[in-house]
């Protein structure tokens, strides 16, 4: 980015030197394309770096999980010599950095080890369950936004009215209610008492209602508060005053000027919140017996199936990194400053 900024600085005099309009625009376009690409490439490298960090953490966890040879040969009456032989065969007596590189090569080939219980590749077990988790998390985030965006705007624009107070109360509660309790209480009222929705399982839209609401309430509360605060800030900015003073309708001032800027920090947090959402999915899926990665993880924990647990952590981390990469690239569209920096 520093190089790109230098480029802009050097080219500025050239631009002012031209009186025609076509050429400077050409330069501007070139510069913005260069800036854009350097941003995207830098962001991609950052993601790869973070991915390496995650793999290192998971590798360390694998090491901490104990000697796989002992787990594999436990109860077979193997002698110490057998153990040594198997260790040498699997390369477990190599230095740790070598083992890590080998692990990386395995990961790159899509090999995250085998489930201790089912003996199937851990990665495919996790990937089979991924669509269900993706569906749950996406719908929860969607629900959160559909409610939070109008509510956040309304409570900022109608600040200190009853709408604002109701929204604040709702958001405070939504942030305080832990989702594991919320899920249980929803089952109690809507499945056991009212029998409106099934208490768990999957198959129809009715199975989705309770888990989606359980998972979506917290992001809903967070986004409402965040958007309200952010919009209150931008509503006080000079450009908003300018828009008002040139006689724009209040609706246009809010939607076209204040909101567009207020949305930026919210988008970043929505991306980061997916992390909490994927973590929350573990609990939500357990409560509602939803066949996703989360319930798979908990089953794996109960079976002490370490490779499967770590594969699930790894895959969900990759999903999360990808989401945040996507959000940052989305910024190119919603924040023109990145293009013209």
């Amino acid at each position: 980015m520093a190089g790109a900024a230098g480029l802009t600085g050097r080219l500025t005099p050239v631009r002012t030197g031209f009186t025609g309009a076509a050429k400077p625009n050409c330069y501007k376009l070139l510069i913005s394309v260069v800036v854009l690409f350097s941003y995207i490439i830098r962001r991609l490298f950052q993601s790869i770096f973070v991915l390496l960090g995650v793999s290192l953490i998971v590798f360390m966890l694998v090491q901490l999980a104990g000697d796989p040879v002992l787990i594999m040969l436990s109860g077979t009456g193997a002698t110490e010599a057998d153990l040594q032989e198997l260790r040498a065969e699997l390369g477990l007596d190599d230095p740790l950095p070598i083992q890590y590189l080998r692990y990386l090569a395995d990961v790159a080939r899509g090999d995250l080890g085998k489930s201790l219980r089912s003996k199937q590749p851990a990665l495919s077990l996790v990937l089979n369950r991924l669509p269900a988790t993706a569906q749950l998390a996406t719908l929860a985030m969607l629900m959160a936004m559909v409610v939070a965006v109008p509510l956040g705007i309304l409570s900022a624009v109608r600040r200190n009215t009853w709408v604002d107070h109701a929204a604040t109360l709702l958001a405070s509660l939504g942030q305080a209610i832990p989702l594991y309790w919320l899920g249980i209480m929803l089952v109690l009222f809507f499945s056991v008492e009212l029998r409106w929705f099934p208490p768990g399982g999957s198959g129809s839209w009715r199975h989705l209602v309770l888990p989606v609401f359980t998972l979506g309430l917290y992001p809903m509360a967070r986004i409402t508060r965040l958007l309200r605060a952010s919009l209150l800030d931008t509503l006080q900015e000079d450009y908003t005053r300018t828009a008002r003073s040139k006689g724009l309708h209040e609706r246009a001032v809010v939607t076209k000027h204040a909101l567009r800027n207020a949305v930026l920090p919210v988008v970043t947090v929505v991306g980061l919140m997916f992390g909490a959402l994927l973590g929350g999915a573990v609990i939500t899926e357990t409560i509602f017996a939803w066949p996703g990665v989360g319930s798979l993880t908990i089953e794996a924990i109960q079976n002490r199936d370490y490779p499967l647990v770590l594969a699930a952590v790894f895959v969900l981390s990759v999903v999360f990194i990808a989401i945040n990469l996507f959000v940052d690239l989305l910024y190119v569209y919603i924040d023109p400053r990145i293009r013209y920096r």
Binding site: F49, V54, I57, V187, L188, L272, V282, T286, V313, L316
Partner: protein, 303 residues
């Protein structure tokens, strides 16, 4: 104000009756909710400390003849067990009271260590910059890229579950918040005049950080720490709910919820209702207190 007819306050002219009611409601919400939250937190701490004196029963005392007794106000309830009993015939009220110990102990100690570690690393990174800053910032980047609840689950599965490990896992989660905050703040005041002046008169780096840079951030750190306390308590109860927290028979709110969950299908709601209420009330009180502190200390008084 009313004695001076020449200078009528604008609000008296414009404020209609409902508006005044609204203003009162606003004041109550804004100004009373925060202190109320503080009081509730103080009561919870008292409850945790004085648990053996307050609890009517031993929280681990089982009596299978009295299992799943409903709360006292329901028919078949017994005032000896005001909130009913769980599946092993243990008094739910006593378990909720004792459960505050685990939640608050884990919550406070994890926030405490996270603040210390995060602040020190943030100061170092922000003040010295260079490779130290790069290293710490990259570690934070990586950690923020992992859905932490899952990492915590994996860590506990691998390391085993105990109180110290629980706190360790939460500190590992929490320190990044303070490190990022303190790093950014330190970085931004590094070139200020008062810092330059302190350096010029020969203040050592440690003195500079401790006496000139850190005091400016204490209030914001405290506010964040308060709000994080609620997160930690919810986090801990979530781990306990999955059976990864404090192990039975030690009563914890998350563990009680997990036990009670099995009886929901039969319409037996009290074993899971009360610990959940306790967690929610605690988190709500802490958040209200934290928001209040923020408004008090934030010079912009926004939000």
């Amino acid at each position: 104000m009313t004695n001076q007819p020449t200078a009528i306050h604008p609000s008296l002219v414009t404020a209609s009756r409902p508006a005044r009611w609204r203003a009162l409601g606003r004041n109550l919400w804004r100004n009373q909710a925060g202190p109320l939250g503080m009081i509730v937190v103080a009561l919870l701490i008292f409850m945790a400390v004085a648990a053996p004196l307050l609890a009517p029963h031993d929280p681990t005392d089982q009596d299978l003849k009295l299992r799943l007794l409903p709360p006292a106000w329901i028919e078949a309830g017994d005032w000896a067990y005001p909130l009913g009993t769980d599946h092993l015939g243990r008094d739910i009220l006593s378990r909720v009271i004792f459960g505050a110990r685990v939640s608050l102990l884990v919550g406070f100690s994890s926030v405490f260590f996270a603040v210390i570690i995060g602040t020190i690393l943030g100061l170092l990174a922000g003040y010295h910059g260079g490779w130290l800053d790069d290293g710490i910032s990259r570690v934070i980047d990586i950690q923020l890229a992992i859905p932490y609840f899952l990492l915590a689950v994996a860590l506990i599965v691998v390391l085993g579950s105990s109180l110290p490990i629980l706190i360790f896992v939460l500190v590992l989660y929490g320190w990044t918040v303070y490190a990022r905050l303190v790093r950014a703040q330190t970085y931004s005041v590094r070139g200020r005049d008062y810092v330059t002046a302190a350096t010029a008169v020969g203040a050592s780096t440690n003195r500079l950080l401790a006496r000139h840079i850190l005091p400016n951030m204490i209030s914001i750190i405290l506010v964040i720490a308060t709000l994080e306390l609620a997160t930690m308590i919810i986090f801990e109860a979530g781990l306990s709910f999955l059976g990864l927290g404090v192990q039975p028979p030690t009563p914890s709110w998350g563990g009680m919820l997990a036990d009670g969950r099995d009886y929901i299908a039969a319409g037996i709601w009290w074993p899971s209702m009360f610990p959940g209420l306790a967690i929610t009330l605690t988190a709500l009180a802490i958040n209200l207190a934290g928001d209040w502190l923020r408004d008090l200390w934030d010079p912009r008084k926004s939000q």
